[in-house]
């Protein structure tokens, strides 16, 4: 190999970062690979747009086939985003025996399994470290670093936008809408924030993480999702008072042969390592049977952090090229998919409700819980908010999701209950 040639699909934020790192760290890459690396062609939408990096105009093309069919290109780096069209490009590239590095979680969450199979059939590497938690080398850590262990639980703060919003809401005591606007102005949230704030982005990452961590093909549809748009300042304040911090947490849990994966706002005990992960940072907490608690922390997005993961994957591809072992590192899922039923999913819950301020109401409510065998860790009975109304805040001990949902149905039917204000999963035990 005299020089390794890269075809870059996309020259946005991450693509520009990739060009910069390949230029700036050329000597480190040379030392590891033994030959230079060059970005040969770049797919863009608009040839005349101004770019964040210096790149020779002749390298730019609007035609993906110029790259996919270029026999001199060894590796395709895909940072253009999108799903259906991108899938076609990458399938064509893999069939042309080009290795692929991608940062595309949307694509990998849906077509990861297909693409990995085609890569393997063609003796190609397909690496996607950057698709989960940007600059944190979490996929490698699961596959290599914890290769010998049985992972039973993963909890991730894997969306920077929502973590930024919740951190600000918590620190400033501001409302969701207000902080969202601030995040948009700072560039931490998109103008259409749906994918982030509704938890879909995090769900894609949890599908990828749990597929690898549990060695079981988890599809995006298997991940239960609830976003952060309904969280109020009151909920955050009650959380604090009780020793909990509100985070949007993806939880993947394995018990025996069955798993459960969800993304939802969660009140996390302040002592939990994830509770201190603030602002736009991401972190993935991994519990292994043998290793116990580990956590991986870092930037979840951004041009250079994400590009670091992309180019590190590229180094992996190039090392394999040197050794002649491409296309052999993917491990196929070991276990058939088995998802837990609601009766098998256990958690603690926070519930806030408004009730009529009458004699016997509290007894009626607690009776419903006790009929389902659910007891309480904490109960706050609070001063009347409006005339004739009392607020009750409860944290349950562990209950099955089935029981908890049945309880919510019964509470809603109860004449004395005016409104179920909010309900969240609770993780860990606070010291308060």
């Amino acid at each position: 190999m005299e020089v390794i040639s890269i075809g870059l699909l996309g020259l946005g934020t991450v693509g520009s970062g990739v060009v910069k790192i390949i230029e700036n760290h050329q000597d480190k890459l040379m030392h590891q690979i033994g030959c230079p690396v060059e970005v040969k062609r770049v797919l863009v939408k608009d040839l005349n747009k101004e770019r964040a990096v210096d790149i020779h105009p002749e390298k730019l093309t609007v035609n993906a086939e110029d790259i996919i069919n270029d026999s001199e290109i060894d590796v395709i780096i895909e940072v253009m985003g999108g799903v259906e069209e991108t899938r076609k490009h990458l399938l064509a590239a893999l069939k042309n025996r080009k290795h692929v590095v991608t940062a595309n979680k949307d694509l990998m969450a849906v077509y990861g399994s297909e693409l990995l199979t085609v890569a393997s059939e063609n003796g190609c590497d397909l690496f996607y470290e950057a698709s989960v938690a940007g600059g944190i080398p979490i996929l490698r850590s699961l596959v290599d670093g914890l290769a010998s262990d049985r992972i039973t639980k993963m909890m991730g703060i894997v969306n920077g936008t929502t973590n930024f919003i919740l951190t600000k809401m918590s620190k400033q005591g501001s409302a969701y809408e207000e902080v969202l606007k601030e995040a948009q102005e700072l560039g931490y949230a998109e103008s259409d924030p749906t994918s982030d704030v509704e938890g879909l982005d995090a769900a894609r990452k949890m599908a990828i993480l749990s597929t690898l961590g549990f060695s079981m093909k988890i599809d995006l549809d298997d991940v239960k999702v609830k976003g952060i748009t309904q969280i109020t300042e009151e909920d955050l304040q009650y959380g604090k008072q009780l020793g909990y911090t509100m985070k949007l947490i993806g939880i993947a849990h394995r018990e025996g042969e069955k798993v459960d994966v969800s993304v939802q706002p969660t009140l996390l005990a302040d002592s939990h390592p994830l509770a201190a992960v603030n602002d736009e940072y991401n972190a993935v907490y991994v519990y292994g049977e043998a290793v116990g608690e580990t956590m991986f922390y870092g930037p979840g997005a951004g041009s250079l952090p994400t590009a670091t993961a992309v180019v590190s994957d590229l180094v992996g591809v190039m090392k394999n090229m040197r050794l002649g072992v491409n296309g052999k590192s993917a491990v196929t899922p070991q276990y058939p998919k088995k998802l837990k039923e609601p009766s098998e999913i256990n958690s603690k819950y926070f519930l806030r409700l408004h009730v009529k301020d009458e004699v016997g109401v509290f007894a009626n409510i607690t009776t419903i819980f006790s009929e389902h065998g659910v007891s309480f860790e904490k109960i706050l009975q609070l001063p009347v908010k409006e005339k004739g109304t009392a607020e009750i805040v409860l944290v349950t001990h562990h209950a099955s999701l089935q029981d908890y949902e049945d309880i919510l149905v019964k509470l809603r039917d109860l004449h004395a209950v005016k409104e179920l204000k909010s309900s969240y999963r609770v993780e860990g035990s606070s010291r308060v």
Copy 2:
């Protein structure tokens, strides 16, 4: 390969963990490797000692050569500890073309470079993830996950014993000696704790980390070391008051071509991710030019966590065996060693001193600092402790180590200074 045979040197805490993980996770190992793994022989000191694991007595031997010269053994796992004799065993094993996995930081900090060279010459893998921070896959993350980045700073809480002691001292307000005794009773500290509490254990790990992270051969002697035995409850209390947490921190810092590596008690701003790492946990904070801040957290020691790292390395060796690429993954240091001079090492410092309670003393002291161009971030002048004595607590802005040491010499000579009570490095800016 019908079965991969392991020779185990040592059957103590970690060795027993290795046996357990190979047994308990055999199906996961099989899935990744495609053949069974078996511990064939085990080197022990005493054949008759009771063991924490079931192992056939015929597998035990007191003679290392039974293992090193067994032609059926593919991989040697070294968890016996010790340096000189162990080095001989491993050199002999490598020359017999056996791959080696070791958890031995003492050995790797001193003879790592020699052993890696011999391994490479003989086409053998030599992996040592478990030698730094037990269950945290930090070496892999540096070498693979951040392969494309230029790492400029690493800060590690890499000794669980001292972190346990400092956490307890801080939370309970207890004295060092008292907490050390408690740690010994709980098995978190050895009966002779010197290597831990004097910082030597952490120094060995920082030598290994900085050699890999900076791609520069850093020897144990290059690491400046100060332990925790002189830390008092007062120091911790002042730290808290100023917004800092006391930790034993290994810092490896690169600026331009020069590096500095040290282990010393450090007052860390409460907002720093490492400040929340408590009890016996370890963590390594890595700053890369492109990726920015990352942190890797987990158990630093213990039977199963350390064994997880050992067996994960074993999986790496076995994957390489399957691909026929053993002995090719080690990267030799890229840069010649260049250490910073004291005039090039910059830090903030905490200084506590007792002075005569006289007019003009404070001016004398601050004049010495200003003569060296060192200014203050915080100054506390405190009530007189004993008759005629005042206590002064200072936190400086950044100063060179050279200037700071010169200042300390001058302060000691000052008639009005009764005693320099304590002095620590300070990292980060507190919000207090």
